[in-house]
Structures are given as C-alpha cells and as structure tokens.
Point group: C2
Chain length 141, copies 2
C-alpha cells in the first residue's frame, strides 16, 4: 500500500498508534506489535524494573516471550498526552491491568516512518500511588 | 549570544546536554536546570515513582523543591545512549548515587531549540537489579 498523505491531525494519529500498542499487548498479538515498532530507526525499551533492551532484535525477542500467551487481563492506557515534536512524538500515560487503578507510568516515543507513526522507545515503571480512571474505560485507553 | 552553527556531531552535543542535567542536579544548581529545560515546547516529567508533571511551571517547581539544598551525593549517569531523530534525541541511561550501583533507569528527551539541545521530557524509575559501573567514574557519566 502506498504511503497516505500527511494527516492534518498528527496528535490523533499518534494516539491511534499508542492505542494499537496497548491493543497488541492485551490481545497477545505479536504480529501487530512487530508492525508497530520502527524498522528504520534503532529502538529501545525499558520494561518495568528491567534494564535497557537495545535494537529491534532484542526488543522483539522480549515481546515474543511476553506475548507467548495472551495476557489474562488487558493492559489499559490511561490519560495519554501527546507532545508533538515534528516527526517525533512523545506520549506519556499510565498503564493498568483491566479496570484496576493504573500502577505504571509510561513514556512511549514514536517517529514517522513512511508517514506511519512507529514506536522507537517504551519505558514503563512503577508509581507509588496508582491512578484511578476518571470514568469506566471501555477500550484500551 | 547568537546561535552557533549546527554541529557535525549532534550525538556529542546531546551527551553534553545530558551531562549538564546530572551536573545541575548534583550541584543543586536550579539556574542551570532551568536553562536546560525547553522554553518553546511543553515539557513533562516523571520523577521516580511519581505521577506526571506537565508544563514548565510544574516541572520547575518540582526542581525548585528538589534542589532547595544541594544533594549530599552526586547523581551519576551511567551508560548513556543517544537515539538521534532529527532535531529530537532520546537518551537512555541509568542513574545512581555517587559510586553506588545505579538503581534507576532514565529516559531523557531533548529537542533543538535555537540550535541548543533542551530537555523536554524526563522519566526515571527503579530497576530491580542495580547496574554497576564498568569502571570508576570521575565525572557525571
């Protein structure tokens, strides 16, 4: 499929990419996870409490292990915020299991590759006071 | 001072900016910390275990509290790695107190504002297995 024209709403596009990250995780969908991560840029990942994974091979190996079985509960994204920096975007949000208060803070960085937003960095780590959703969530964010 | 010409080594420039972040923290130097954070872009910050701070005012208020007294030991940066994405750069590294093993993973994002690299996002969170410096460190990284 040829690249589509640049969107007039890149923030919305980034939020969709971010949503697809949590959907791929929640559905144990390694193929979508692989498609989401950048191919043309070196990627890095800090899973909660873990040391850095550097490079697509190491990062995808970790997802292959983590998504071997579909997670029992979905991982939800709460309060995503986009900082748009040209063709790069930072999303900050909280992550929680299902409808429980979110217990992780996350930084997700995306770049535009062939006009599609792709993840180049993920960092999730614990927070002391879990964040409660303001309203019941029906989707992945 | 007028902006300087673009450097032929942006990775080195980003590492210098990253070094100045840890130096400002270690010296309790709020003025340098304020200078380092972006002025033209919305900034965000996850201090270890804490919820998101959004906007320059909230972020600088937190540094003002944190740096009220010069920290007793320097905060050291270990194994910094730069992902250069045009005028944006992600630095991943570990943070530790003085010569102790590093107990935090950090994501620091910089953008070029008027040809100077400025911090737009900081996320530090605990890691389960602290990282030991490969060799004694004499500086901030």
């Amino acid at each position: 499929m040829p690249p589509v024209a640049p969107s007039s709403n890149p923030e919305a596009e980034v939020l969709l990419a971010n949503e697809s990250f949590y959907r791929a995780f929640s559905q144990g969908d390694l193929r979508s996870m692989s498609k989401l991560w950048a191919h043309l840029t070196t990627v890095t990942c800090f899973h909660p409490g873990m040391q850095a994974l550097v490079g697509r091979e190491a990062v995808m190996r970790s997802w292959s292990r983590l998504l071997r079985r579909r997670p029992e509960v979905p991982l939800r994204c709460l309060d995503p915020r986009v900082q748009l920096l040209g063709d790069t975007a930072i999303v900050t949000c909280y992550e929680g299991a299902d409808q429980n208060p979110a217990h992780l803070a996350a930084t997700n960085v995306y770049v535009r590759e062939n006009l599609e937003w792709k993840m180049v960095h993920h960092h999730a780590g614990p927070i002391e006071h879990p964040v409660t959703p303001r309203k019941p969530s029906s989707g992945w964010n």
